[in-house]
């Protein structure tokens, strides 16, 4: 099979997924024609293109976080937990007024990185020392993080101004700046992370070894590759990037720590890594497409009362189509009577 056939099959799978999704949305009362209009205007209209780019930053970050973990065969399903911890740590710096105003935002980002790393370190250590399945531990730690967040937002950090369960708003110095009136600084952060991930996976020596660990860990071990050290480093990096996503959303988009800022990102990160086959550059592109879907979903929510769950449903349908198409990429069909 020529190399392009695989790509063609995957692309048709995405199209099929979109068609099925359009059919479901039509049943929910969104005419296919207006759906198309929504998609076109999402990228054509400068206002909403800005929203798409804005939305892309955290999605790129979670997509990269998932990609680098998957390259090490560590199934990090705890992206949301790591985001939450990143968000909490950044907010703690803001509420505690740590450091000067100039240094604050940098400290917040750093705290988010460290917190995400710490949150993924727990399942990492459990896996390395006790061989406990990281799929379970990362997933369950999401709930722990979630309730820790609720505890703070409904308790100590409740905004004294309105008593709603969200933290007090960040000061102007604590928000990610906007460049030239339209480009969110979070996008710049995300692009830097994409390049760093590309360097780590494709250029560095660790990335070279990682290809062997991914393909045949036993062989890597025989060749004297320090598997635990490399996998550990990469997984910590994954948690750090997810933590950074948990800083970009409150600081760059919502302006404060809210109780639902992380929702849907864990699943989307896994989806992006899966569709991009853990390639960081591809993950960047796929993340922008998913961001478009998010933005369209938001306007569907407003204009057609379509719940946000529908966006997740569409993502799931696309994943299933691509996963199903994978069968045709790997196998040749021979019809037999």
């Amino acid at each position: 099979m020529p190399f392009w056939a695989g790509g063609l099959i995957s692309l048709s799978a995405v199209l099929l997924g979109l068609i099925i999704s359009a059919a479901i949305l039509a049943l929910a009362g969104v005419a296919p024609s207006s759906l198309l209009t929504e998609f076109v205007s999402a990228v054509a209209d400068p206002q909403s293109l800005r929203a798409v780019l804005n939305q892309s930053a955290p999605l790129i970050l979670v997509g990269i976080a998932a990609s680098i973990a998957f390259r090490a065969r560590f199934w990090n399903l705890g992206l949301e937990g790591q985001m939450i911890m990143g968000g909490i740590a950044a907010t703690a710096i803001s509420l505690g007024k740590v450091g000067s105003d100039d240094a604050r935002i940098g400290l917040m980002a750093l705290a988010a990185l460290v917190a995400g790393m710490a949150w993924v370190a727990i399942p990492l250590v459990l896996k390395v020392l006790l061989r406990i399945n990281e799929i379970i531990t990362t997933l369950l730690l999401n709930y722990v993080a979630q309730y820790a967040l609720y505890d703070l937002l409904f308790g100590a950090w409740k905004d004294p101004a309105d008593s709603f369960p969200h933290a007090a708003p960040f000061s102007a110095a604590e928000r990610l700046p906007v460049i030239a009136g339209w480009l969110q600084y979070g996008m710049v952060v995300a692009l830097v992370i994409v390049l760093l991930a590309f360097w780590l996976l494709q250029v560095s020596r660790a990335g070279f070894y990682l290809r062997f660990i991914h393909a045949n860990a036993v062989m890597a071990d025989h060749m004297g590759v320090q598997t635990v050290r490399i996998v550990g480093t990469v997984v910590l990096a994954s948690g750090a990037v997810a933590g950074l996503a948990g800083f970009v959303i409150p600081s760059g988009m919502e302006g404060r720590l809210t109780q639902g800022f992380f929702e849907g990102y864990g699943f989307s990160g896994v989806l992006i890594a899966f569709l991009a086959q853990s390639n960081p550059l591809a993950a960047g592109i796929v993340a922008v497409l998913v961001a478009t879907l998010f933005v369209v979903g938001q306007s569907l929510q407003i204009f057609y009362q379509i719940p946000f769950a529908m966006v997740q449903l569409i993502q799931a349908i696309i994943v299933m189509c691509v996963a199903g198409a994978d069968f045709f990429v790997r196998h040749r069909l021979i019809l037999q009577r």
Binding site: W199, V203, S204, G207, M219, G224, Q226
Partner: protein, 497 residues
């Protein structure tokens, strides 16, 4: 069976093999590893289809499309690795092989059938527990009953005693004998002379894919039988006048595995520089474990591995791990190429380069130079005569076994090692590839490298080694200086030393 031929790629596993088995006899098939015993039996049981040859049962020609077809003709095989579903109990497993119309009624019927056969054989079988929880011997009994319930009248047992303790093995072979008395034809694939002589009525000896002779095991001495099985070909020693140096690698009292049934037991030997130390033995007697321990991948339960350096200093490597071994000048070629020596989905070039990346040959830690990897790998591919490489960035999994092995040996030798451990380096290779690898080993020895050659191919060990240890049941049972007596080694291998 007459004139059976079967090739795997370029490797001819069976060449004009013939076998006749009579009703009511225990027919042993004796031969070394890779002689073609299991292949021939897999053809008989419908698992492989032969390239040529015929199979007659009671004078009727049969062609089996699959094992189910074979069992319908009465041929049942008990494999060395049992084909049982561990989570099912005995009744369910048997029913899986001989399905009945209704599940509920089937269970009762199959249960009755099992009891009938088990009682006739004097077996006790636990019907209710998942078979994964039962002992190996018990699982084997279930396999036998499974074949019988499915209607087998010709029963093939592939190395049935390999997994059993001595008393269990004797009991099993007695049962097989009883089955034969009741009219069933039993075929016993084995490499144990003792089993052949005590329990079989006739024996067919196989060597290198040929059936050599069929005879009465009681009418021939065990020496003659050994000669037939291992061949009497004199292998010219390929050494030229050279002297080996002082002890380089010293292994003392290595043990591995559970205390009750250790995989390795008190293995001691030493290898000098400029010497090939061969370890002969039938596969599965601890060779893989020994290779892994020498290469640092597994840690022994007891014992030490020491390396004498040219300066006279002695380094204890026992707990140093693969990287430590490599840093001390080790190179290892494991037997399981695809599992341990290469990553199939990674490129040829990278699979070659991985031996040198850690030393910074392809750039510092933050940059791996692909162009330089390509150049180095390309010239290695040319030098080692690796065929079938269109681009060095193609997946290595696309190469044939022989070419993969050429590349792996080229990689390991490119480390400029002072100690080399190779396990079955020529398994599955054609004559030319085999000779190339042997040449490399001899050249390394002449350059003063200490070589450990672990192989199940006796010819290989005899033709290359300066000294030979024989490994049986995880122990080095005998040691010989070259030129070694083939018969003596053969006897030690099959436990007659």
């Amino acid at each position: 069976m007459t004139g059976v031929r079967k090739s795997f790629g370029a490797f001819r596993a069976l060449d004009d093999a013939s076998l006749d088995v009579r009703w009511g006899e225990v027919h042993a098939i004796l031969g070394e590893n890779g002689a073609g015993k299991s292949t021939l039996m897999n053809v008989a049981a419908g698992l492989y289809s032969a390239d040529a040859g015929t199979l007659l049962i009671d004078g009727v020609a049969c062609v089996f499309s699959d094992p189910r077809d074979a069992i319908a003709h009465g041929v049942g095989m008990i494999h060395q690795h049992f084909k049982l579903v561990n989570r099912f109990n005995a009744v369910e497993n048997v029913m899986l092989a001989s399905p009945r119309g209704s599940y509920r009624r089937g269970l009762a019927e199959v249960g009755r059938d099992i009891k009938r056969h088990a009682d006739a054989l004097g077996f006790s079988i636990n019907l209710d527990q998942p078979v994964g929880l039962l002992s190996i011997a018990e699982q084997q009994r279930i396999e036998i009953v499974k074949a019988l319930v499915a209607g087998a009248r010709i029963l093939i047992l592939d190395e049935p005693t390999a997994v059993l303790a001595d008393d269990e093995a004797a009991k099993l072979l007695q049962t097989v004998n009883n089955l034969a008395r009741s009219g069933i034809a039993a075929v016993l694939v084995t490499h144990k002379l003792r089993d052949v002589q005590a329990f079989s009525d006739r024996v067919t000896v196989m060597r290198a894919g040929h059936t050599i002779a069929t005879l009465d095991p009681r009418a021939i001495s065990s020496d003659e039988l050994t000669t037939l099985a291992v061949g009497s070909k004199i292998v010219p020693p390929s050494r030229r006048g050279h002297t080996s140096g002082t002890d380089r690698l010293i292994v003392r009292g290595l043990s591995y595995g559970p205390q009750r049934r250790p995989r390795l037991h008190d293995v001691s030997f030493s290898v000098r520089s400029g010497e090939i130390y061969g370890i002969a033995g039938v596969g599965g007697n601890g060779q893989t474990e020994l290779t892994d321990i020498l290469g640092g991948v597994r840690k022994p339960v007891a014992g030490t591995i020491e390396l004498m350096q040219p300066s006279g200093a002695c380094v204890d490597l026992t707990s140093s791990g693969p990287r430590g071994r490599i840093d001390s000048g080790f190179a290892t070629v494991p037997a399981d190429r695809h599992g341990q020596a290469i990553a199939s989905s990674v490129s040829v070039a990278e699979n070659y380069a991985i031996a040198h990346v850690h030393k910074g040959r392809f750039g510092p830690w933050w940059f791996v130079n692909r162009a330089s990897i390509r150049d180095v790998a390309s010239s290695a591919v040319r030098e080692a005569d690796v065929q079938g490489v269109r681009s060095v960035f193609q997946r290595i999994g696309l190469l044939s076994g022989g070419n993969t092995q050429k590349l792996v040996t080229a990689r390991e030798f490119s480390r400029m090692p002072s100690t080399i451990i190779v396990h079955s380096p020529s398994r599955g290779l054609d004559v030319r590839a085999c000779a190339a690898i042997h040449h490399r080993l001899l050249a390394a020895r002449d350059n003063g490298v200490a070589v450990v050659l672990i192989s199940e191919d006796l010819d290989e060990v005899l033709s290359l080694s300066d000294r030979i240890g024989v490994m049986t049941a995880g122990k080095i049972v005998a040691e010989f200086d070259a030129p070694a007596d083939r018969q003596a080694i053969g006897r030690a291998m099959v436990g007659h030393a």
